[in-house]
């Protein structure tokens, strides 16, 4: 017998199904739920209750993890609306966007080889700014315009920025050694 997991993540954490999320409310919803279901509350309970508690706490963590991260949240919301973000299969991005990615990746490579920490940090700043702009566009597309196709495309673009940031982080890690 498995617990009733039919509620979506938003409902479970007490939120409206929207991209814009009040971080404090999200955190409160998560903590309220965990304080009901966390295995620590059931360490002295029956084996069956301990298992159900673990399943629920797992579910709560999954919901929180998904809604806390804007890309994951957007993908999940699009999925609820019946849209697939095609991150595995859709390789055609606008040429200027890809050109910009190429330039950034090259700049990261150059800075990494030179061990140039301040340049890496400057690049990270640029990328974060670009990411923040895209998140504003994503909110408009999903919440105001209900333009889910545009939402999917923005999620795909954001994945490239996410990768770039990871590349910068590992380059910074290298320069530390």
């Amino acid at each position: 017998m498995t617990p009733d997991f039919s509620r979506d993540h938003f409902e479970l954490l007490g939120l409206a199904v929207r991209f814009a999320v009040d971080a404090a409310r999200l955190e409160r919803g998560y903590r309220d739920l965990q304080s009901q279901v966390h295995p620590d509350r059931f360490a002295a309970a029956t084996e069956a209750e301990r298992r159900v508690a673990m399943q629920w706490a797992t579910r709560a963590n999954e919901a929180y993890r998904t809604l806390r991260d804007p890309i994951e949240r957007a993908r999940y919301l699009l999925q609820l609306r019946g849209y697939d973000t095609e991150e595995e299969s859709n390789t055609s991005m606008p040429a200027d966007f890809l050109m910009q990615q190429m330039e950034w990746r090259e700049a990261v490579d150059v800075a990494r080889d030179a061990g140039d920490v301040s340049e890496l940090e400057r690049l990270r700043g640029d990328i974060r700014r670009s990411r923040d702009e895209m998140l504003v566009m994503l909110e408009r597309a999903l919440d105001a315009d209900a333009n889910f196709v545009a939402g999917c495309s923005l999620v795909r673009k954001l994945r490239f920025l996410e990768k770039l940031e990871a590349e910068i982080d590992s380059a910074l890690e290298l320069t530390e050694h």
Partner: protein, 623 residues
């Protein structure tokens, strides 16, 4: 040290109702136990008033064992049979142990985890650790005057699954009911946070005898949330001793020190290291086995030069932890120092330099982990009092993944995921008609399987014959609240299923633990049965009590037939309790557990619905 009173007098259950629970810090150089008494956590001292137990075990040919100070006193005279720093070998193979340099033991290449040849026969690190835990269990039961209900045992946050599993096995072997494995820095944060009523983002910098952890935690009212953790499970105060001993060995041309001399040098190095935290220069007189007497001296600045590299090694994990938490050093409100090795002034300076603020060190760095574990143990045992309503959210330190074709790792659960966590990944067959698939579970951050730690291999059999790529095999990783992994696999189109608890490659099966456990108590069958009967009766009592409490609250969730079934099983267990067959009690417990599953599920659904309905109307209205 004065830990905050965590309950008002009179709030806690009556003493005779309290379940005895302890927190145990199983350390590299020493271990200790603590408990909550009269609302405050305190360490449990031995008969001579000493709280710390050196984590040293000496084996004698007749099977007798010395643990603690006596063993420590004999380490130079009987190095091969006196096991120090056994924590470094937990869940580790011969190749890992080789990295620690020349050690005076005869290691045996056992599958997965090393075994040490002693005068009493081969001993696995699990068994050696169990000896330490057993001493602490007996000490606690004497001090608390009763059998322990359970214990929270701490592990370095950066321990992988093999090391955690080995620790849990050792605790079971010592006859402990493990309520939870708790990460050491998290335990320290509990003790610190509750004591200081702190709020904010804290870094717990924990350099123990053999392991280094850095955890970033967010403390808000009633919640301890670990944001990230990192570390080095092979870096600790021991390495500073080694560096000093090597320095002397070279400087005094002590060629090829024998086992006993190695120990003498290390002991001298440790003493000098500790004194240099307070003095500018320290020296000791050492007599080596061949009669040579030496005066070994070191100044603080020499010491700092010799060990500067080791201090530096703590900084890379610290940066990584901050990065994973998406924070800068300036975002940290306080840095808490834990572990005896953090007493070294140059280490404190490095920490201060990195975070730009002096670290907090008003807690006893040797005791704070055990105290935090004791507070958690008290709550988990059900001795929760008003004001104890805090919640602990921890993470796994290292990513978990599966080997895919080509020797690459497919990451399934990334590091720093909040536990418990489950994640599924789909795989397919690559040959027509392929009926079996081997799965290899690994832990670590590297792309190639060979660079990560191998946790387990298992095989999914009975995949129905299909063309290559048609089968959809869903592999689910579940990490529980102890940070331990279990894996199940399922073919989605037909539902063929296979599930295992990942047993580390070192290969201690449940049966082996049970066998060792029985052997360790007594060789007489009747004693063993008596012990098993006592254990099963205790378990039966707590199960019955838990179900009665549940029925008091939520009996309306059961249909008439279900209620009748549950009552029948409860009566069955009571009957078994009155008889003396521990196997019959065990069977009745299992039957009652099964019968209560649907009830447990519905109770939790009700609790969740209640939590949702309890939210303020305007929150729901905004949907």
């Amino acid at each position: 040290m004065g830990l905050l009173q965590i309950s008002e007098p009179g709030d806690s259950p009556e003493p005779h109702q309290r379940k005895l629970a302890v927190g145990i810090d199983l350390g590299t150089t020493h271990s200790l136990a603590a408990t909550v008494r009269s609302g405050a956590a305190e360490v449990i001292a031995d008969d001579e008033g000493r709280a710390l137990l050196p984590s040293i075990v000496r084996y004698f040919p007749d099977g007798r064992v010395d643990v603690g100070y006596d063993a420590r006193a004999a380490q130079a005279e009987d190095p091969a049979n006196t096991i120090v720093s056994v924590k470094r070998f937990m869940g580790r193979g011969v190749a890992d142990v080789a990295k620690y340099g020349a050690l005076p033991y005869h290691f045996k290449d056992a599958p997965g985890m090393v075994s040490i040849e002693t005068a009493a026969g081969p001993r696995s690190p699990v068994q050696v650790s169990a000896e330490i835990l057993k001493v602490l269990r007996e000490r606690s039961e004497r001090a608390l005057r009763g059998e322990l209900f359970g214990a929270v045992v701490t592990v370095p946050a950066y321990f992988d699954d093999s090391q955690r599993q080995a620790t849990k096995d050792a605790a079971k072997l010592a006859g402990l009911n493990v309520l939870r494995l708790l990460n050491e820095p998290t335990a320290a944060a509990i003790a610190y946070g509750l004591d200081h009523a702190s709020e904010g983002t804290f870094a717990i910098f924990d350099l123990g005898g053999g392991t280094f952890d850095i955890s970033i935690l967010k403390l808000t009212r009633g919640v301890f949330e670990v944001l990230s953790t990192n570390g080095d499970s092979a870096l600790g105060g021991d390495d500073f001793d080694q560096a000093v001993a090597t320095h002397w060995r070279v400087g005094h041309r002590i060629a090829d020190a024998k086992g006993g001399d190695t120990r003498r040098l290390l002991a001298a190095a440790r003493e000098v290291k500790e004194r240099l935290s307070f003095e500018e220069e320290a020296g000791v007189q050492v007599t080596l086995s061949y009669g040579q007497s030496l005066r070994l001296v070191l100044t603080r600045s020499e010491f700092e030069k010799i060990t500067a590299g080791l201090v530096q090694r703590t900084l890379a994990p610290t940066r990584k932890a901050l990065r994973d938490a998406k924070l800068e050093p300036a975002d940290i409100d306080g840095v808490v120092l834990v572990g005896g090795a953090t007493r070294m002034p140059h280490l404190q300076r490095a920490v201060e330099g990195h975070f730009g603020k002096p670290p907090l060190k008003d807690l006893d760095p040797d005791a704070v982990v055990a105290l935090g574990a004791a507070i958690q143990a008290n709550v988990l045992a059900g001795n929760r009092a008003a004001g104890d309503d805090w919640l602990l959210l921890d993470v796994i330190p290292l990513s978990l993944g599966l080997e895919t074709m080509g020797g690459l790792v497919e990451r399934v659960i990334p590091r720093n995921s909040t536990i418990p966590v489950a994640r599924a990944q789909e795989f397919t067959t690559f040959k027509d008609g392929q009926s079996a698939m081997a799965l290899h579970v690994v832990q670590g951050e590297r792309e190639l399987v060979a660079d990560n730690r191998s946790l387990a291999r298992f095989e999914l059999r009975g995949i129905p014959p299909m063309v290559a790529g048609a089968a959809r095999i869903q592999v689910t990783f579940q990490v529980d609240a102890d940070g331990l992994l279990s894996v199940s696999a399922r073919e989605a189109t037909t539902g063929v299923e296979s599930s295992i608890v990942v047993k580390p490659s070192y290969g201690l099966s449940d049966d082996e633990v049970a066998r060792m456990l029985q052997e360790s108590f007594s060789h007489a069958i009747e004693d063993r049965d008596a012990r098993a009967l006592a254990e099963q009766r205790v378990e039966a009592e707590s199960l019955l009590a838990a179900i009665r409490a549940a029925l008091d609250q939520d009996a309306d969730l059961l249909g008439e037939d279900e209620r009748a079934d549950l009552d029948r099983r409860m009566a069955g267990l009571e009957r078994a309790w009155n008889a003396t067959d521990h196997r019959a009690i065990k069977a009745a417990i299992e039957a009652l557990n099964r019968a209560s599953e649907a009830f447990a599920t519905r109770r939790m659904d009700r609790a969740v619905s209640g939590a949702l309905a309890g939210r303020r109307l305007d929150e729901v209205a905004s949907r």
